[in-house]
């Protein structure tokens, strides 16, 4: 009896609270926005853009009047099975994909709040003006840039050369006026004059030639080391090709903190880290259709590759067109490298070889990837053997073998990490 009364009281209270909400329509709509964001926005946009479900712009004008929408949100399945004409029409329009049943998930009051929000819609956004301003400012500073110091030197040389030639010309013309005798000497062609001067300073010319030759040889020798190496240690600049899509590692791996392995998901299983297939891009970009810098332009290229139509939300096999990414880290064909071996067994971080990719807008090679570099690392890196199941057997064996000796470190080269045939076969 007491239980019944308390339940009745609770129901009354709930009813009062609900009617209170109903009367304050604005509060209800704001409430509805929160509920919508939590439960509906996963599939429905407030624009006419189709996500998983249809866009809800002007939905109140489309659907039948009365409690239809309420019933549909509550249990769309039941409504379809009851043979409702409009419900079945919607089902057909959306390729027979049903909407989740919200009965028991959200209350009737919540549904009313959502409907209130659908009636009012979003307030127009106000932040657009400032964003465009900031982008134009950025472009302006970009265009200014910095003047290459070499151009300044070039300009100075040109000015100096003109000055010198004019001054000398003036001097010569003055002297030619005052000393008529020296005119014969002045008339000598430039090349002959130089030749005479060189004949007079043979030793000096010889030493200069030898020095120049040595510098040249050294330059040739250095440049030979750059053959087939895509990274310059002196300038810290590497191969940085322009990719078909302006994909930013900084945005994805840095700002959004998506793990490297999400896209390069074969890195722990295969020789290749893997260039992600378009369906990996689509996992997020099916819903995220505008980027922060290039808007829809660059993301549209993914849709083009996947044969995806963002308006209808459907894929078309015949429109697929693979993205031709350009491989940045190239190893010669005659060397074998395995990612899973280094990452899973060797416990190496991605950054060891690829640099701080999280801060790169365009992927760039940050290590020379030469054999010297490989061997150097194999000589320095200690094998992570403790607690590494892969090395359990070897660890026990080596412990036994080097029992008497005091070994401080055990590097990769000590277990055959610099054998030729480890990588070249």
């Amino acid at each position: 009896m007491i239980k019944n009364i308390s339940r009745l009281a609770l129901n009354l209270l709930m009813g009062l609270v609900l009617t209170g909400f109903l009367f304050s329509g604005k509060a209800l709509a704001a409430d509805g926005k929160a509920i919508f964001k939590q439960n509906c926005a996963v599939c429905h946009a407030m624009t006419d853009q189709k996500l998983t479900g249809p866009g809800l712009k002007g939905v109140m004008d489309r659907v039948p009047k009365g409690p239809w929408l309420h019933d549909w949100i509550k249990n769309s399945d039941k409504l379809i099975k009851s043979g409702d004409a409009y419900a079945n029409k919607i089902l057909k329009e959306n390729n027979n994909a049903t909407m989740s049943v919200f009965e028991g998930v959200i209350s009737d009051g919540d549904i009313d709040a959502i409907i209130e929000y659908l009636k009012k819609g979003d307030e127009p956004p106000v932040t657009t003006v400032t964003t465009t301003d900031s982008t134009t400012g950025e472009v302006a500073t970009d265009a200014k840039g910095g003047i290459d110091p070499l151009y300044i030197i070039l300009a100075i040389i040109v000015i100096l050369a003109i000055l010198i030639s004019i001054l000398r010309g003036v001097r010569n013309s003055i002297s030619s006026v005052t000393e008529k005798a020296s005119e014969e000497e002045l008339a000598k062609p430039f090349w002959q004059e130089t030749k005479e001067w060189m004949a007079g300073h043979r030793r000096f010319i010889g030493v200069c030639c030898i020095i120049l030759l040595l510098i040249g040889m050294r330059g040739c020798w250095n440049s030979l080391w750059q053959v087939g190496v895509y990274y310059d240690e002196a300038t810290d600049k590497g191969y940085k090709p322009e990719q078909p899509i302006k994909f930013s590692h900084k945005l994805h791996a840095g700002d959004n903190a998506i793990a490297c392995q999400y896209c390069h998901n074969s890195v722990e299983k295969s020789r290749h880290a893997g260039i992600p297939t378009v369906n990996v891009c689509m996992n997020c970009h099916k819903a995220i259709q505008t980027g922060p810098k290039y808007g829809e332009k660059e993301i549209a290229k993914i849709y083009e590759a996947a044969g995806f139509d963002p308006k209808t939300g459907s894929y078309s096999r015949s429109k697929e067109n693979p993205i031709q990414w350009i491989k940045v880290h190239n190893l010669p064909d005659h060397v074998y490298f395995n990612h899973s071996q280094h990452v899973v067994v060797g416990k190496q971080e991605c950054t060891t070889c690829h640099g701080d990719v999280k801060s790169m807008t365009v992927a760039e090679q940050k290590q020379p990837l030469t054999m010297t570099w490989c061997i150097d690392c194999h000589r320095k890196t200690e094998v992570a053997m403790e607690g590494n199941a892969y090395y359990d057997k070897l660890h026990a064996y080596l412990k036994d073998k080097y029992k008497g000796e005091h070994m401080k470190t055990f590097t990769v080269d000590k277990m055959g990490g610099i054998e030729c045939a480890k990588c070249h076969y």
């Binding site: 996963v42 050369a161 030639s165 087939g228 191969y239 260039i275 996992n283 064909d333």
Partner: protein, 213 residues
């Protein structure tokens, strides 16, 4: 007055050489699209088919070595775990073939950190960094998804659900089941604290989920 004499030839020649030298230096600008000089490119770029290479066919067409596999090809570990024609609503019947253990849960946690955390958030509340950019954040595991069965979790990971894309192509079957275990931990349905010894294979919590349904 003679122009030849006015502009001294020697000074002019010297300045011309200096100009050419510096101009030569400035023209050595970076070409980021070029991989640099390759001596004997055949040693770098194989003619054989390698996964990410392009090759030119006898007819002169450029093709990618990465091709669509023969239809019906199944990658190792990717045998379809979900019977054909099974819908999301029928997925309750799927059973996790991997028994729960702290080890499996730990592996699931590692996978979660790589494949789920950026949307679903550290504790599965749907507050990951990417979730803020989605039209709507994913529901919380211990909220709206608290009573989701293991079969439905597995089905959603494999085929995607709502805004979430299908992950059955990048995670093999075992990994998806391990993830399911960890998602159930985040749901909070595993009320017993994680057993420290592996002999206590926890089957009870799974049964508990079924009872709750």
């Amino acid at each position: 007055m003679n122009l030849n004499k006015f502009i001294n030839l020697k000074a002019f020649a010297i300045s011309a050489v200096a100009f050419a030298f510096v101009a030569g230096l400035t023209s050595c600008e970076e070409v980021p699209n070029s991989p640099g000089f390759e001596f004997m490119p055949d040693m770098y770029r194989t003619r054989g088919l390698r996964y990410y290479n392009q090759y030119v066919t006898a007819t002169g067409d450029t093709l990618n070595a990465a091709r669509i596999p023969v239809s019906g090809t199944v990658a190792r570990g990717f045998l379809p775990a979900i019977p054909k024609g099974m819908t999301y609503d029928m997925a309750d019947n799927l059973r996790n073939p991997i028994p729960f253990s702290p080890q499996v849960e730990k592996e699931g946690e590692v996978l979660y950190g790589k494949f789920c955390v950026h949307c679903h958030g550290d504790a599965g509340k749907g507050d990951g960094k990417v979730a803020a950019k989605l039209p709507g954040p994913p529901p919380a595991y211990d909220g709206a998804l608290k009573n989701l069965s293991e079969g439905k979790i597995f089905y959603s990971i494999t085929n995607g659900k709502n805004s979430m894309g299908p992950h059955g192509l990048i995670l093999d079957q075992d990994e998806r089941w391990k993830l399911t275990h960890y998602v159930q931990t985040l749901q909070g349905v595993r009320n017993t604290p994680v057993a420290t010894d592996s002999t206590a294979t926890v089957t009870a919590p799974v049964a508990e989920v079924k009872e709750k349904k």
